[in-house]
């Protein structure tokens, strides 16, 4: 606000004219009207009810869309005009009440008090042009190219604008989820392809289910859909909803609160699933820790408090995550799981609340010992310190003197350090399973010889 400066009237007029041209260009792009240089300037007017909100009225130019020069455009109105532009006459453009757009005195778009579209010359003319359809499509493709290219520069700063997704209603429409599924089918077969396909199939199923019920979050989702180019809408909404929602009502506020609560439950479930995965043998259906118990039946997990025996959460494992079915976490439990998440992330020892009870620990150290002994035996057989840098998961070395060092290549760092009598380990059950599996390859070859040693070594590198 302190940046107030004065300028002479000539400059002020020039700035104002420049600004009007910017707005005009934007509106014309939005409305897809022509304004070529060799043509006389067309007269564009926009009315809200009977009130002129944009355009020339006698000798005065009104502009309620952009407000005072320098302020953001009125995003709500822009969105409404876009909605009106893409709704055929006779249909309802929801929320677009009593709007009228005139070009050279002719009404080209109009809605009534219920949002019903009375006039839409654009769509009418599009459908009338079917005889030269291919030509029209080619042209609109070019326009599309330009529009989607240009609008990309708006991705991160267009929070208050609704960029246009140009639609040509004379062509058949396809749902976004169907388009995603089709795009995945082109990819080469791979585990990630299967996971993404399952994910999008699940999304399609849920979309169908949601059509049946009126979602509590519908309003928030509708707001999100108004900014389809914004790639971080939800993150912005959570930080400050008013940056992405024009009028924040109570439904929006409740939606945001619910979103945050769900988000906490979701990340809790994800941490518990990771814990279960890292700490149990494949096929295990129970994990008992200091203060919590997790049991699993297929993809369904139930978490209960050891102290009360009460179930505190139920979630389902999905291809790309978890889906919380029921969550009733109190603040202490949320805090416990938050510490767990921190430990898992930093690869630090588990907090006591989630440390497995004694029996599992004893078994764990037995396997650690078996693995380290086998690596040392391998070094003894080679009569030198050995170092294996695998392609995928681990890098390790062992010396005939009994020192072992294992580190993960997935970012978790050092997993095990055995030096003399000291042992420090953070190997998960899955890490141990891996090393147990490669133990047979570490056995001395039946026929000794450098060729076999070299081959065995090469094989390990490929693990």
């Amino acid at each position: 606000m302190s940046d107030i400066f004065t300028l002479n009237s000539g400059d002020a007029t020039a700035i104002q004219q420049h600004y009007e041209r910017v707005i005009e260009t934007l509106l014309r792009t939005l409305l897809n009207t022509e304004n070529s240089g060799d043509k006389q300037q067309q007269d564009l007017k926009i009315f809200d009810g009977d009130r002129l909100i944009y355009g020339r009225d006698n000798n005065q130019f009104r502009d309620d869309i952009s407000g005072i020069s320098g302020q953001l455009l009125n995003p709500q109105l822009i969105a409404e005009l876009q909605e009106l532009r893409s709704t055929p006459a006779g249909d309802v453009a929801s929320g677009v009440i009593n709007k009228k757009v005139e070009l050279d005195g002719k009404v080209i778009l109009q809605s009534d008090r219920d949002g019903k579209v009375l006039v839409n010359n654009f769509l009418q003319s599009e459908s009338n042009q079917s005889r030269s359809k291919s030509e029209v499509f080619e042209t609109s493709n070019i326009v599309d190219e330009k529009q989607d290219y240009d609008s990309h520069s708006l991705i991160n700063n267009s929070n208050n604008q609704k960029p246009e997704i140009k639609e040509d209603i004379s062509l058949p429409f396809i749902n976004g989820s169907t388009r995603v599924k089709e795009s995945l089918q082109v990819l080469e077969d791979s585990p990630i392809k299967n996971i993404l396909i399952s994910e999008v199939e699940q999304l399609k199923t849920e979309l169908k289910a949601l059509q049946q019920e009126r979602s509590f979050y519908k309003e928030l989702i509708e707001q999100r859909l108004q900014q389809p180019k914004n790639t971080s809408w939800w993150q912005q909404a959570i930080n400050n909803v008013s940056t992405v929602v024009q009028s924040v009502n109570s439904a929006i506020k409740m939606g945001i609160r619910e979103f945050k609560e769900n988000s906490v439950q979701h990340s809790s479930a994800a941490s518990l699933k990771t814990l279960f995965y890292l700490q149990t043998q494949p096929g295990a259906n129970q994990y008992t820790a200091g203060e919590y118990q997790i049991s699993r039946q297929g993809a369904l997990y139930e978490v209960s408090s050891e102290a009360t025996g009460k179930q505190i959460m139920q979630f389902r494992s999905t291809p790309l995550g978890v889906k919380v079915e029921q969550g009733n976490l109190d603040s202490t439990q949320i805090q416990d799981i938050s510490s767990l998440r921190h430990s898992l992330k930093k690869n630090e020892p588990l907090p006591t609340t989630f440390t497995p009870i004694g029996k599992q620990e004893a078994e764990y150290f037995k396997v650690v010992e078996k693995v380290t002994n086998a690596l040392v035996q391998y070094a003894i057989a080679q009569q030198q310190e050995v170092e294996i840098d695998g392609v995928f998961s681990y890098k390790w070395r062992a010396s005939p003197q009994g020192n072992v060092h294992i580190e993960a290549k997935d970012g978790r760092g050092v997993l095990l350090e055995k030096d003399g009598g000291k042992l420090k380990t953070n190997m998960s059950q899955k890490d141990l399973n891996y090393f147990e599996q490669i133990l047979p390859k570490l056995q001395p070859s039946q026929v000794e010889g450098s060729r076999q040693v070299a081959e065995g070594r090469r094989e390990l590198m490929m693990e």
């Binding site: 990309h152 639609e167 749902n175 995603v180 082109v186 999008v200 859909l225 790639t231 939800w234 439950q265």
Partner: protein
Amino acid sequence: MQTLQTHWNTEVSSLLEKYPQWQKMLMSAIDKPQLDVGYCPFVIEIFDQYGLLAGKINKFGCYECKRSSNQQSKFVAWMFDGELAIFYVDLHMLLNRIAIREELTL
């Protein structure tokens, strides 16, 4: 394992040049580590050059936009909680930041 190619063929490179914001996001995502093991996105949103294709929020809802048949998707980008995680052009997977642990996907 992260699948990435920084030496894309000319076709892919010139396509990306047309969408500088996406190109920038892709290049910066390629330099980032893979997502944590066991990472489960709360919000998944999928985009093409026109914008949002579909979205899904855990326990909250799913939504999608429409495309007409002349609006072909030139690339598909999956954003997890606002972070670019997957990006592909036709059959070329240019970015995959998901560490697959089979047991975790059961």
